[in-house]
């Protein structure tokens, strides 16, 4: 007894869960975290490049926003990252750790590319577009359903399963990239001429951006106001509660993963038909993983995700400008992204918990 007491009183502080935090306090903590992260990034950059930190951030801004073309590039990249983030969000809300978005995007892109190659000349453009969308959505959904099926049936670990599926998809796409390359086997990916998304108002990427904007609004409404969105939150909070109130958990898991994969398929479709007009094994470019961080940082809120994906794309573009100007390796942007994410992840602790210092009198 006395030993227990001693152990308890020895601690100088203890951690208490906050009941609720006003939204502005939470945002102040997040802003402080980002500022701190920027200071650390500044120190790292100065240490490596002998720039002064203010100059560094100006260079970054130039790299991301310097010209109209760069701005469009920034928005387009944000849109694609946002699209993948929207895709993984329903699954995460359900606490189904789908880290297979990379693969699902690639499979969607593969389906799109296959349509563009084999049906491109045969079908009229509107019909071709329709077929492309449908195949990419369906194949993305099917690819995502495989781990979901085994999860619901045999309770296999979905994190590991979806992770492995990524690399299967990457190799399949690498195979077809080589098979379809022109000339065959050369490795230069074929430019897909038929079925490219139309250029709206002279802006190549506008249609991508509009599609993702619509998806964002739909996702917001779906998650927040629909019955299915509600079911997802209940399953995520507690499977037992969900079962108790009569939700068919297996059905919800399968349906949500299908949706997740389908939206990834759309992202693949946009990347192949709208952005790149070609297919490579790095078409998804790690977005499947970055999206997880985007979604999580935005607390699964599609509207906040616009901000978080913009932040990450901005950092990546800005940092690659710095590495270009100072002829450093382009991976510099990954370091900056990593540091910022560490800080934001860390700041969540201070939003959810507070540290209470035990007063001295209590000890006696």
């Amino acid at each position: 007894m006395s030993k227990m007491n001693k152990l308890y009183f020895k601690t100088k502080s203890h951690i208490v869960k906050r009941d609720d935090i006003t939204w502005w306090k939470a945002w102040i903590i997040r802003v402080i975290a980002v500022l701190l992260a920027m200071v650390v990034c500044g120190i790292v950059t100065v240490f490596l490049t002998d720039l002064n930190p203010i100059e560094m951030y100006i260079t970054m801004a130039e790299g991301a926003l310097g010209t109209t073309r760069l701005v469009w590039n920034l928005i387009q990249n944000t849109a694609i990252l946002l699209c993948v983030s929207l895709a993984v969000t329903p699954a995460f809300k359900m606490k189904f750790w789908n880290i297979g978005a990379e693969g699902q995007v690639l499979i969607g892109g593969l389906a799109t590319a296959a349509c563009m190659i084999f049906l491109g000349e045969k079908l009229p453009t509107p019909l071709l577009m329709l077929v492309m969308v449908i195949t990419s959505v369906v194949s993305g959904a099917l690819w995502a359903l495989v781990p979901a099926f085994f999860k619901t049936r045999f309770n296999s670990n979905e994190t590991l399963f979806t992770l492995m599926m990524n690399y299967v998809a990457i190799q399949i796409v690498a195979y077809y990239t080589l098979e379809w390359s022109m000339p065959k086997g050369s490795g230069t990916p074929r430019t897909l001429e038929y079925g490219q998304l139309p250029v709206l108002f002279g802006q190549k990427y506008l249609i991508n951006i509009l599609i993702v904007l619509v998806l964002t609004i739909v996702a917001y409404i779906y998650l927040k106001y629909s019955k299915q969105g509600y079911e997802i939150s209940v399953v995520g909070e507690s499977e037992n509660t969900a079962r108790y109130i009569g939700i068919n958990v297996k059905k919800v898991v399968l349906r949500t993963m299908a949706i997740s994969g389908a939206v990834c398929g759309i992202a693949g479709f946009l990347l192949v038909a709208g952005t790149d007009h070609s297919l490579k094994s790095d078409t998804a470019g790690g977005r499947g993983f970055t999206a997880i961080m985007v979604s999580w940082l935005a607390k699964f809120n599609p509207i906040f995700m616009i901000l978080t994906s913009l932040l990450i794309v901005f950092l990546q573009k800005g940092a690659s400008k710095i590495s270009e100007v100072y002829r450093l390796n382009s991976s510099f942007s990954d370091i900056i992204t990593g540091i910022i994410i560490f800080f934001i992840i860390g700041s969540e602790f201070f939003i959810n918990y507070k540290i209470k210092f035990n007063k001295k009198e209590e000890n006696k």
């Binding site: 750790w97 670990n157 399963f161 492995m164 299967v168 190799q171 195979y175 990593g338 560490f342």
Partner: protein
């Protein structure tokens, strides 16, 4: 020919063995560390940086002291990857952050650090060498046993490797022993299976998580060091390490969380890696399909273990779940 294939399979498998042993230890404490690929990059580049600075500080390569040439990179690598492990621990254990998100961020960061310093190290230290080629250091790492080549195929298969290959196997055996035969291992498994119970039994959960994750990261980092110093002959190439980090995580599942099994598993994975080169008339694209095999095999193992549902072949029950004492 068969001896050569086995030899190459072992060499391919060694980085995976280091990675998976490290990840198994980490996962046994209930932490799914998806930062392993990043940690392995950092382990590799820290060793490279150490060796590079050491070689640069010498007037001529002949002055290289083989013992220092091994010790400096080894130490740098261990420090680098342990630091990465500590970042992960601090965020997930102390700050209670989500493990998957933290791990993926760590991988982004680690691969970034590896490629950045790999590509910019020369410029950063104002050196005039054209590329990072640490052949002297690499030779020290690759020193084989003196009688390796006098024993024919037997020596080729068993003795023709640099010392890190044996370290990998010994570490895996020690890890297996500690996990299954010692009190520390029992406590560790308790932490991974049910941290609340372990806590109630008086086990310091936080300490166990910190220590095993750090040690696990250090071990995984050695895989990166082995790859660059021994396998790649001391030549750093960006992204040269490839997806071996993820393969290590696959190997963890394949060997159903047993370091002893992952010794064999790593050789099998290495075998799958090298076999396409020995198939006559194989096209480049078919090679890509072969590279898919380890992952497909892993998925099949994952499915079978979950179907058979045997208790001893399951992931640690609390894998990926956060543990907060106050929220039980």
């Amino acid at each position: 020919m068969i001896a050569t294939i086995i030899q190459r399979a072992v060499m391919q498998g060694t980085p995976l063995l280091f990675g998976s042993t490290g990840e198994i230890l980490t996962e046994k404490s209930g932490h799914l560390n998806l930062g392993i690929p990043g940690i392995m990059y950092v382990g590799a580049i820290s060793g490279v940086a150490g060796a590079f600075l050491y070689e640069q500080s010498l007037a001529s390569p002949e002055l290289l002291n083989p013992i220092l040439a091994v010790l400096i990179p080894l130490l740098c690598s261990l420090v680098g990857s342990t630091l990465m492990g500590l970042i992960y621990c601090f965020l997930t254990v102390t700050l209670r952050a989500n493990q998957n998100v933290t791990g993926l961020a760590l991988t982004t960061f680690g691969i970034g650090v590896g490629n950045f310093f790999g590509g910019s190290l020369i410029k950063l230290v104002d050196s005039d060498v054209p590329s990072i080629a640490l052949s002297a250091t690499s030779n020290a790492f690759k020193t084989e046993l003196p009688f390796a080549h006098s024993l024919g195929w037997f020596g080729e298969i068993f003795f023709s490797y640099g010392f890190l290959v044996y370290v990998a196997i010994i570490v895996a055996i020690i890890a297996s022993f500690i996990l299954n035969k010692t009190r520390i291992g029992l406590h560790l498994r308790a932490v991974g299976e049910n941290p609340a119970t372990a806590d109630a039994a008086g086990i310091n959960v936080t300490r166990y998580k910190y220590i095993t994750t750090s040690i696990g990261s250090a071990i995984a980092g050695l895989g990166g060091l082995y790859y660059v110093m021994d396998y790649a002959n001391g030549v750093w190439s960006n992204n040269g390490f490839g997806d071996r980090g993820w393969l290590s995580i696959a190997l963890v599942i394949f060997s159903v969380w047993r370091p002893s099994l992952s010794i064999l598993g790593s050789i099998l994975f290495g075998f799958l890696y090298v076999i396409p080169t020995y198939i006559p008339n194989i096209t480049v694209s078919d090679k890509k399909l072969f590279e898919m095999l380890p992952y497909v095999v892993t998925i099949i193992v994952l499915i079978i273990t979950s179907m058979r549902n045997k208790k001893e072949n399951q992931p640690p029950a609390a894998l990926g779940l956060p543990y907060f004492r106050e929220e039980r």
